[in-house]
């Protein structure tokens, strides 16, 4: 494909390199983007437009300028580093509507997790595996005690504040919670990628010193507040029970290991925390109606579907009754078109990286452990010098 400056042909780059670079994150299907699609059709692209496109898809434009041999060498080098970082990582996920795990997000979080574990002496987090072998009721108490969660306080809050209450309590205890964000160029802000991310589910990346939880939040419109709350508790059960369902190999492919069987327990414990059995026992002999389900969902901050699932598991209703009471599938609200104020760059970074990682990054920058370029890759996933300057200024460095 030719690269043009104005009407002049500057250089011809390799089609196989373009396809190779666009396939680094295959689930994003970047090759289908009109810019490249049109380029392949007409045989040329403009240099200036290539720079703009690369800024959108968060891939360095220089990569497209490599020869096939050099690209192979570069990708080999990157994969080698990833392999080293991924070799002993395990993760678990809560399946979402589309069952997608973004390799780009996993890549970013593992990079953050490794930065922390390689540079800081952190003792083993006592919650990792703490629920193994404990009876059901003891698990619930241990969980609430460990994170110092007051369920009455949690339930008294509006859903978003209730979620933030849990997140704060959990992060204080050394578990990093990363949340999907669209703003601030943290993830590519392009339509094709958005459609991939909207099917992204929550997951946890194992590390006994600093486990990482990822909540899709705003990048997955199906994740209503109540579902986010359930997902969060469910993923914490994965950590507490050491119940990791998948491993990731050097190519970021997830595979199921043979040790399984904890799925039901993870859901039962999640439900036991959010919707206590003492409460559902009270309705054992009453007529379970849709308004009652909605009432329980509202009070206990879980979705009506989760309430029905829990009632069926507890044999308060039959599975058939559950099917009949299921509400219609959730229709995500349309995003308001009015321009919303852009949050501070530190707010966005703290949300995406998690407050634990955010604090370690800032410490690393302050103490010179992290060089500017590496810091930008941890924070933004690419070099964004102006935003990085703003970031440093906002954290007072």
């Amino acid at each position: 494909m030719q690269i043009k400056v104005g009407k002049q042909i500057a250089v011809e780059i390799y089609d196989e390199v373009i396809r190779g670079v666009l396939n680094i994150y295959p689930e994003e299907e970047l090759a289908k983007r009109p810019f490249f699609d049109d380029g392949f059709r007409v045989g040329h692209i403009s240099y200036k437009n290539l720079l703009d496109e690369c800024d959108l898809i968060l891939i360095s434009w220089q990569m497209f300028f490599l020869t096939p041999e050099n690209l192979k060498k570069q990708l080999g080098h990157i994969n080698q580093l990833r392999k080293y970082k991924f070799s002993k990582k395990f993760f678990a996920k809560r399946k979402g509507a589309g069952d997608v795990t973004s390799k780009r997000i996993v890549d970013r979080l593992v990079r953050l997790q490794n930065y922390i574990t390689e540079n800081y002496s952190i003792p083993k987090n006592k919650f990792c595996g703490a629920l193994i072998g404990k009876p059901h009721s003891e698990c619930v108490d241990s969980f609430l005690d460990f994170f110092n969660i007051n369920l009455d306080e949690f339930r008294s809050k509006a859903s978003e504040n209730a979620l933030n209450y849990l997140i704060d309590k959990i992060q204080i205890k050394g578990i990093n919670i990363s949340r999907g964000v669209w703003k601030g160029g943290i993830l590519p802000e392009v339509k094709s990628v958005n459609s991939v991310y909207k099917n992204t589910s929550g997951f946890v990346i194992k590390d006994d010193r600093i486990p990482f939880v990822f909540l899709p939040d705003e990048i997955n419109p199906d994740e209503v507040m109540a579902r986010r709350i359930y997902t969060l508790i469910y993923l914490l059960m994965c950590i507490g029970l050491n119940g990791y369902d998948f491993s990731i190999d050097s190519d970021f492919e997830a595979s199921e290991p043979k040790v399984l069987g904890l799925e039901a327990k993870k859901h039962d414990l999640t439900a036991a925390i959010l919707l206590p059995e003492t409460e559902t026992e009270k309705i054992k002999n009453s007529s379970v109606t849709s308004p009652l389900i909605s009432q329980l969902a509202l009070k206990y901050k879980i979705t009506p579907r989760a309430v029905l699932f829990t009632l069926a598991r507890r044999k308060i209703i039959t599975w058939e009754e559950r099917e009949n009471l299921l509400p219609p599938p959730y229709q995500p609200r349309k995003v308001p078109s009015s321009p919303r104020k852009q949050p501070r760059v530190t707010t966005i970074v703290k949300k995406f990286c998690g407050s634990q990682a955010f604090n370690y990054i800032n410490d690393g920058i302050g103490r010179g452990i992290l060089q500017n370029i590496e810091a930008q890759y941890l924070i933004f996933g690419r070099v964004r010098k102006e935003q990085y300057g703003e970031y440093r200024s906002q954290i007072g460095l």
Binding site: V5, Y47, I373
Partner: protein, 146 residues
């Protein structure tokens, strides 16, 4: 025409050197400088200009040379995204050399801007690479000589 690298800009900023004529940098070097300047709360001195704003700059030729130099030399990392300023400076030096050679071939009088091309570079490895590409036709100076 005078070209400078990142270390020379640092030298200018560190020693508060007041420049009296124009010095050119590549887009990659300008990018590298932006963060350092934001942190230092300084701006690029007005006499330091991005080469792309100069109407004598042949961008197509520069891009062709960037492609060649990127694939010829190591020292740049796609993992940490470092070393591209150096690649861009070699590409720019080569672009200017080609312009010089074209003028010589056509036996045209040398335009004023190409009469004396100087590059200020501190890093020994980079000096060696520039020399390898442009020979002695472009004068090389150390950052401290600015």
């Amino acid at each position: 025409m005078k070209l400078i690298d990142t270390s020379t800009i640092n030298q200018v900023l560190k020693n508060n050197i007041s420049l009296r004529e124009d010095y050119f940098i590549t887009p990659d070097i300008e990018q590298e400088m932006l963060v350092a300047l934001t942190i230092l709360k300084k701006s690029i001195p007005s006499h330091i200009k991005n080469i792309t704003i100069d109407n004598r700059f042949d961008e197509a030729s520069y891009i062709k040379n960037y492609f060649e130099m990127l694939n010829k030399y190591g020292g740049r990392s796609f993992f940490n995204m470092t070393g591209f300023g150096d690649i861009s400076l070699i590409a720019l030096a080569k672009t200017i050399l080609e312009a010089l050679e074209k003028i010589n071939r056509q036996a045209l009088p040398l335009p004023g801007f190409l009469e004396q091309v100087e590059i200020y570079v501190e890093d020994g490895g980079l000096r060696k690479r520039i020399k390898q590409e442009v020979g002695s036709q472009i004068k090389l100076y150390k950052a401290s000589q600015i």
